[in-house]
Symmetry: none
Subunit: 204 residues, 4 copies
DNA sequence: TATGAATGAGCATTCATTCAT
DNA sequence: CATGAATGAATGCTCATTCAT
């Protein structure tokens, strides 16, 4: 019967737990994220963990939620900037920012991302999807000619999931066959040229 | 020390174990793939499982191996066909085949794919990567004009990882924002138009 | 990581575990000393056993330690008395006390002694050896004439190991060819006469 | 339902099993003496082991029997020689021979002796006890004056068990506080002087 | 409210023994 | 006769969760 953290202190404890979980997941893998270990690293007793979370699963969800929230918080303020760039520039910029987020704190989120799939029952990816869709919508509002072109939702979908996973995979690859920069430019080119192509097709 | 399955019967048992493991992974997730459960579903005693596999990990590897092998077996004979198509057609066709494989047996492989990341220590993805790289190479040999264009390894990398994951994600999505067909055509268009674009750029 | 028993209750639990282990070793042999069985007899859950002991081995060591400690605790306060006796009396007295300890609680330690060899990796016999060596040294300090005689360490070694095992063997023998009293007197005579002999030899 | 080995070949197989068991017990301890392992080293199938032995326990008994038999076989032919020596010489000689037997084949029997206690339910030590008692009896027949002295069975008992265990302990001791030779001479002196003492006592 | 000792179901793995071949 | 694949009970150990303090 965990309560919503109403007080300052409680909020801090919840934060400490999630933080501890992420650190352990990154450093020791799923097996390291036992409730005991998380509580220990968070500096609280095991029992207290259950004051704030229904069960282990709930902690995992909160951990994943945190990653998503951080990603959203990173992207949102970037939107005004991005919408004024060319597609090529915007995609490239976005990928570099994603990389920066994933490699922050000794690649904590990158390492977590590899395990998150197996740890959470259902992805609460919605907020991330929303902000990226917002970005896409605002982008086309600034570049109205694109609207005539391709199937926007599909393109976004491909970019969001395919792009994200490709970046994660590349950064995790101990021997990547190309530099991150090449990959980013390649993806930027791909997105740009396909949108230009559909634009051209629409003009005919 | 597990023995190599030399006899017919032994081979069948190994198969049954791997099969049981995949069924359980698909239906119950990683936690369902305990040695006891696998043996039970395979219709053998726990001890027998250890006659054929060093340990639990070895079973998991064999399971993943099986998926990869099946994917390779599906793609390989397709290559001669694919290389004669346009990029658009080839990508579309490949995606449809991938879907068919993933959704076979009540989406067994699709469900497994979601967990495989967490289950195997190191992906033996090499064979899959190889066959897809082969496909790309043979494709450009049949379409030499493409060689002048874009950074081929990067494009393949993006398509292989991004494309695969996008498909998996889409098929797993209980409420996908577009049909699989739209997604496949969208991805095919993207690949096609970007290769055409770089071709055009090269001509200048 | 098992905790040091800091509280009263914890100390009692540790004691109960060791006690249970000794009872089981005595009654059912090494095979009876499984962690589950020990926990059961100690009246606790298996998990709790691991709160106090790193692993099964550690329980076994504690069990053996307990026997050694009890033996030492029995001998130590006896030393002042023993050193004032003749060798014959002292050896006889010591053997009777050893017997009493071994046969206490329905011969628990006697039965355990038979198995302890196989159960502990390294004997922590040091404390026992030390107290017996102390006894020997204090004895010769009270009987300085003995110092002129035989090789004291060797004699002690023979008495400590040979004597101890002979007693254990005799008490375990379902059909001993002589009474314990005869054995004790015989050993006492042997030790006494050989020390007297080497004394006589030294005088020449 | 194991049969008595009636044929040559069967006898050889039984021998191979016992031999394998002793090698494994010496080299790998009790845990190494699984039926599988023994059969493997003996060069037969597990099933065949059960043709000759009721169960694992029976193999262990046969192993121990073998050690005892070898000890008896070593001592018996020595008796005529020993009875013509002084007690001191005889004891010393016997101990050296025991040592030689125990350290044969890279200390195989010595290592086994340490585990045999825990492995066999009941010691079939009787034959060894018998041959040593025979030795003692024949000895006093050659030295009739000894008969007047001490309690012969008791002295033998002490020597047999105490002496044997002291030797085993000393040879197993990684840091023995004296040389084997000192120990042997010390024990020889002890036995000699105590028999001489009881002789002297009897003369008064 | 916070704690951490206690729990026991569950897991991976081993191995004596059997029995169909 | 000999075999070794198959078995499943048993073992040591972990860990999510609870609850008395």
């Amino acid at each position: 019967m965990p309560r919503k953290p109403q007080q300052e202190r409680a909020k801090a404890t919840v934060d400490a737990i999630v933080e501890a979980g992420l650190i352990l997941l990154a450093n020791e893998g799923p097996k390291g994220t036992s409730t005991r270990r998380i509580a220990e690293v968070a500096g609280i007793g095991v029992g207290s963990l259950y004051e704030y979370f229904e069960n282990r699963e709930a902690v995992h969800e909160a951990m994943f939620q945190r990653i998503v929230d951080d990603a959203v918080a990173m992207i949102k303020p970037l939107i005004p900037e991005l919408v004024r760039m060319t597609i090529r520039e915007a995609v490239y910029e976005l990928m570099c920012r994603m990389r920066e987020l994933l490699e922050r704190d000794d690649s904590r989120y990158l390492k977590c991302a590899r395990h998150s799939v197996s740890i959470v029952r259902s992805y609460p990816l919605k907020p991330l999807q929303k902000v990226l869709t917002d970005l896409a919508m605002q982008y086309v509002m600034h570049h109205p000619e694109l609207m005539r072109g391709a199937d926007l939702p599909t393109m976004s979908y491909i970019f969001i999931y395919g792009g994200t996973f490709t970046v994660i995979r590349h950064l995790s690859d101990p021997n990547p066959p190309m530099s991150f920069d090449s990959l980013a430019r390649g993806l930027a080119n791909m997105v740009a040229s396909s949108s230009e192509a559909s634009l051209a097709a629409a003009k005919l």
